[in-house]
């Protein structure tokens, strides 16, 4: 359950259904950037060492270059980065390897996928975003804009949306060891919010403190169980039986 206050991108599709995609904030951006930075760094290390294999005296070689070749090298260094970001975003449908790892994607502000032009622009403006140090301007811009865009995004008309990995299995997993537990009455229909509450408890239960696990489970059983005394005692015997009961309770909603 995340807060309703987090910003989202609303898209009106031609199918008359409005999508709302969650916008990725600064944390996701930083993570993805760091991952990509590692890749680029790796590339530069490899490039540097292959270079040293060919040229023994690197500093001397650089000093010996003419101004024009030196200029070409600087442009080359910048262009390599720029091409990396842009090509990745264009070829991987708005993602770079780092973004894929974190699960965010670049889209246009209307939700359609980015083209070459947008991607080229937003990665050119990286130069300005990274001024004066550690992306200060970019970070300020991300913090201050409603859709968490950096300057490059604003200029290119793009933003980053989150892609969560949502597990639908929890809705359909059959109840295990249901035999030891009294069958849930199922007299009361559960609303979808209640279902969601029970399911999120079941998903998180293995990671909870034992005391809290029992306490929350008991609360849920009392609220949605509809059991009499004897059955309740049987269900509340251990966390395992509590959760088995709750799972069965959800399954009866078929």
């Amino acid at each position: 359950m995340d807060s309703a206050a987090s910003p989202s991108l609303d898209v009106a599709t031609p199918e008359r259904v409005s999508l709302s995609l969650p916008v990725a904030g600064i944390g996701y951006r930083c993570l993805a950037y760091l991952a990509d930075l590692c890749l680029l760094f790796l590339f530069w290390i490899v490039a540097y060492f292959t270079f040293t294999l060919m040229v023994s005296d690197v500093l001397g070689f650089l000093k010996g270059l003419s101004g024009f070749t030196r200029t070409l090298m600087v442009v080359g260094v910048f262009a390599t980065q720029w091409v990396y970001w842009t090509l990745a975003e264009v070829l991987m449908g708005g993602q770079t390897p780092g973004k894929r790892l974190v699960g965010i994607r670049v889209v246009r502000v209307d939700g359609s996928p980015v083209g070459v032009l947008e991607s080229a622009v937003r990665n050119l403006v990286r130069l300005v975003d990274s001024l004066p140090f550690v992306y200060a301007i970019g970070i300020l811009s991300v913090l201050l804009t409603r859709q968490h865009q950096r300057l490059g995004d604003i200029l290119a008309g793009t933003l980053l949306v989150r892609e969560e990995r949502i597990d639908l299995d929890k809705y359909t997993t059959p109840a295990t060891e249901a035999s030891a537990v009294p069958a849930p009455a199922g007299s009361v229909r559960l609303a979808s919010e209640d279902l969601e509450l029970i399911l999120s408890f079941l998903t998180r239960a293995p990671g909870l403190e034992p005391a809290a696990r029992t306490r929350l489970g008991t609360k849920l059983v009392e609220r949605y169980g509809g059991l009499d005394e004897a059955e309740r005692a049987a269900v509340l015997a251990s966390p395992a039986t509590i959760e088995a009961f709750l799972r069965a309770r959800v399954q009866t909603e078929r």
């Binding site: 599709t13 442009v75 290119a156």
Partner: protein, 325 residues
């Protein structure tokens, strides 16, 4: 009342999984035509499921899942058209020159600022040669004092970051910084233009003062006109961006910026190939004395004239006009 959630998921999930699978295949680029039709049908079904989920299961994980699935499918189905060679040609044949002419005022303002910088730099150095110690970098002063030409790029703007390595003395950086710093309410562009102008003016004046005028002319004559024009155009684009921020008119600032920014980016992108061409001239014609000075001067004049002729004449009137080739 809608079906309970688990039942709904159990019933519709095969379709969703199939759609997800097709989307992965589509990204990998191995879809056949009939599968494409299936994708379309499945997307519509998922969209209607999403509508149902919005109504009855709002805020659940199923709702979020469908949102995401439909978002991905929407992105896959409504892809922007691929940029092709033809559209690139059309861009240079009329879009770019037209965009430039439409925003001539900004380019003129940019040229004015740049000239102002040049005049300032030159006047200061000519009136007070010691002022050069402030305006001209030390390594240039040394080489001028030794009466020899540095064959490095003459323009430089030093963004205080070491992203593109320590020596940011290249035209591309100048171009990008001049344009992109327009995002700082246009002030960055104004500063970059003035700064480059002062730099150029002071260096030129110092060279003239030290009796190296001919040598300087010899170096910059061939590529100077076009290169400075490109800087000025990039400055114009930066001023456009700044203007959209300061005076967005009837639109919200973000929208004004996106709209004007797209136009401004056209100017910068249009300049890119010319910048590459002129870099070749700068690298192979300008340094050394393989070509005599007057040849370089003539070449510079001719290139500059062609460049501006193209900018001012191409794509006039009908789209069918061939422009200047």
């Amino acid at each position: 009342m809608a079906a309970p959630l688990p039942a709904f998921v159990a019933r519709r999930r095969p379709d969703w999984d199939a759609l997800k699978d097709l989307l992965d295949r589509q990204r990998a680029g191995s879809l056949r035509l009939e599968e494409l039709r299936t994708l379309d049908v499945l997307y519509r079904r998922a969209a209607s499921d999403l509508a149902l989920a919005q109504t009855f299961y709002a805020g659940t994980d199923v709702h979020r899942f469908l949102n995401q699935l439909c978002g991905q499918a929407y992105a896959a189905i409504y892809q922007p058209p691929r940029e092709r060679l033809a559209s690139t040609l059309a861009f240079f044949r009329h879009d770019f020159p037209r965009a430039l002419r439409a925003n001539g005022a900004f380019v003129a303002a940019s040229a004015g600022l740049f000239l102002l910088g040049i005049l300032l730099g030159a006047v200061v150095v000519l009136l007070e040669p010691r002022g050069a110690e402030l305006l001209v970098p030390e390594n240039l002063r040394d080489s001028i004092a030794r009466k020899e030409m540095w064959t490095d790029g003459i323009l430089s703007v030093s963004p205080p970051n070491a992203v593109a390595s320590g020596i940011a003395t290249n035209n591309l950086t100048v171009l990008i910084v001049t344009f992109a710093s327009g995002l700082l309410l246009g002030l960055g562009t104004v500063f970059a233009l003035l700064n480059n102008g002062v730099h150029l003016g002071s260096v030129a004046a110092l060279c003239v003062h030290e009796g190296m005028g001919p040598k300087l002319f010899d170096f910059i004559a061939a590529h100077g006109p076009v290169e400075l024009s490109i800087i000025v155009i990039a400055g114009g684009a930066g001023l456009m961006v700044g203007q959209a921020l300061i005076d967005p008119g009837e639109l919200p600032r973000a929208q004004a910026l996106a709209r004007r920014g797209r136009e401004a980016v056209k100017l910068v992108l249009g300049c890119a190939p010319f910048l590459a061409l002129i870099a070749v001239v700068e690298g192979f014609v300008s340094p050394g004395d393989f070509f005599p000075s007057w040849v370089k001067g003539l070449l510079g004049l001719a290139l500059g004239a062609f460049f501006w002729l193209y900018l001012l004449r191409a794509g006039r009137g009908e789209a069918t006009s061939r422009g200047v080739s």
